[in-house]
């Protein structure tokens, strides 16, 4: 579904991602684990086309999307949920969802509708006409995910879904997202610094050190059994 090879990204003059490669199989739930500031968010932004890669190759499905504008990448079936959620404060909950709406890529597939999103997230249905700015952190996260789903994506990019949420809410969101991906054949790539959330949501993990991947594809089990790896790359 997604394959990055030797990708390099710059913010102005600084080389933030250096020769990053990774692969996400169709239907997989993959997590990039790493500390704050190693370039996890930039990796997602690079895939999304918001911070374009300067070199390397990015393949989504069977297309090379490097150099594509963000909206074209989104229309090819990629949805992005940023860590800040980026809910539009001037729009109602329903308008936020409608803004994300896009017909499904594969013809004949049943697409997401407002009703279906409200079924998964009843609280959004209750607040459909309220302003996006008035939601709590957890509700904003649900809205951001619901809005991403409205685009009928094949690939879901999640940036630190646990950020700013209480442990119970984190568990809630993690469970909903996992169920969603299973039921709708969604491929997911998430980035996290919270080890437990990563284990809960993904099966395959990449460890990211400063500016690049340092440990290729480990399964959740390997990760639990390899304390040294975690100590080295995740603990403060």
């Amino acid at each position: 579904m997604l394959k990055l090879e030797d990708v390099n990204t710059y913010y102005g003059g600084s080389h933030v991602i250096q020769g990053l490669s990774l692969e996400v199989e169709t239907g997989a739930a993959v997590c990039i684990l790493g500390r704050n500031g190693v370039g996890k968010t930039t990796t997602l932004r690079t895939i999304m086309g918001l911070t374009p890669a300067r070199s390397g190759s990015i393949r989504i499905g069977d297309q090379d999307t490097r150099g594509w504008p963000a909206h074209r990448i989104a229309c090819s079936g990629v949805a992005y949920v940023p860590a800040e959620r980026n809910i539009f404060p001037g729009l109602s909950v329903e308008e936020n969802l409608r803004l994300g709406a896009r017909p499904p890529c594969e013809e004949g597939r049943e697409g997401w509708t407002l009703e279906k999103v409200y079924e998964y997230f009843p609280v959004l249905g209750e607040r459909r006409h309220g302003g996006g700015a008035k939601l709590s952190g957890g509700e904003q996260q649900m809205l951001a995910i619901g809005r991403a789903l409205m685009g009928n994506p094949r690939l879901l990019l999640l940036d630190e879904p646990s950020q700013g949420l209480s442990p119970i809410l984190v568990e809630n969101v993690a469970r909903i997202v996992r169920d969603l991906c299973r039921e709708h054949d969604l491929t997911m790539l998430l980035v996290e610094q919270n080890f437990r959330v990563a284990l809960e949501m993904a099966d395959i993990h990449y460890l990211m050190g400063t500016k690049s991947i340092i440990q290729d594809q480990v399964t959740s089990e390997d990760l639990i059994n390899n304390e040294e790896l975690i100590k080295c790359h995740l603990s403060v």
Binding site: M48, L50, P69, A70, H71, A74, C75, A79, Y80, P82, N86, F88, P89, G90, L91, E95, N96, R98, L99, G100, R102, R147, G151
Partner: protein, 300 residues
């Protein structure tokens, strides 16, 4: 008593015109981060296009020709559309290449553009004042008891209400409008959701220019159409935007009416001093309420 009603109505007329021009300027700024100093010139262009379409006397730098002249209301739609077309060309050719540069570039660019358009207007239509002749049924005054008021001014108020109604419908009910409102908040996220941000920005720029064109046309039957008519309007709409708060729709409505009333009062009573009050109000707001009279503005 009659003169008080007259001042109020005049204030509404002026405020309505300020409102349409300033909202156009505000929409362009909100989505493009361009302070369009040529906005007043596009307003003038709306009046001149209107004059040309209604009279049927087309001046094209010497390649002049005449046709029968169009119906006033048809021209009211066509003239702003032509201004929108000019806006589209300006955005594509001049504004878009400056997109990633600091705002000072487009500030200087549109400043130059203002003189260019004004110069072209003067070269083509000359210095003498023109008027747009409204349809006959709008040329007479309307009598309410012993109070009379020009029918065209009433019609202008209706026109402003219709334009604002259409604009609100566009912004609140259409996909394009939702895209625009979202892009004014977090542009990047709009493109991450699959919306072509460039198209939204062009759309907003053209919409802003159309608004200026509508206002120019509506004013055509009231005040003389002159090459410099855009300058005062640009200043006034700046004042409106500053008092209302940059990027605040509701603030602009309040501010436009306020400035309209003060200017109407100025024309009727204290003439020279009233506009000074407006500028002082603007200064006070800038210092003490930089986010506008309702505190809703967004500065970058």
């Amino acid at each position: 008593m009659a003169s008080v009603i007259q001042i109020i109505l005049n204030g509404l007329v002026l405020g309505g015109v300020f409102l349409i021009v300033a909202i156009g300027l505000n929409i362009i700024y909100g989505l493009n981060r361009v302070m369009n100093l040529a906005h007043g010139s596009l307003y003038a262009l709306g009046a001149y296009f209107g004059y040309t379409l209604v009279t049927g006397k087309v001046l094209l730098f010497g390649l002049d020709f005449e046709f029968g002249g169009l119906n006033f209301f048809l021209a009211l739609i066509l003239a702003p559309a032509l201004v929108g077309l000019v806006g589209w060309v300006l955005e594509r050719v001049l504004i878009e290449p400056m997109r990633d540069r600091p705002m000072i570039y487009t500030l200087i660019l549109t400043y130059g553009l203002m003189f260019l358009i004004d110069g072209l207007i003067k070269a083509n239509w000359g210095d003498t004042p023109h008027y747009i002749i409204p349809p006959e049924f709008l040329q007479k005054p309307v009598y309410i008891g012993d109070f009379s008021y020009p029918a065209y001014r009433f019609a202008l108020l209706v026109g402003v209400a219709v334009v604002m109604g259409l604009l609100m419908t566009l912004l609140n009910r259409t996909r394009m409008g939702i895209n625009m409102r979202a892009a004014a908040d977090i542009p990047e996220m709009v493109s991450a959701l699959g919306v072509n941000l460039k198209a939204v920005r062009v759309g907003a720029f053209v919409l802003g220019c159309v608004m200026a064109g509508i206002a120019g046309f509506l004013v055509g039957p009231l005040y003389p159409i002159l090459p410099i008519m855009g300058h005062d309007m640009l200043i006034s709409s700046f004042v409106v935007i500053v008092i209302g708060g940059l990027g605040s729709l509701r603030g602009v409505i309040v501010a436009a009416l306020l400035v309209g009333f003060v200017q109407a009062l100025a024309e009727a009573v204290i003439t020279n001093f009233a506009m000074v009050i407006v500028y002082m109000l603007m200064a006070v707001i800038l210092v003490f309420k930089p986010y506008g009279i309702l505190g809703e503005g967004k500065f970058e």
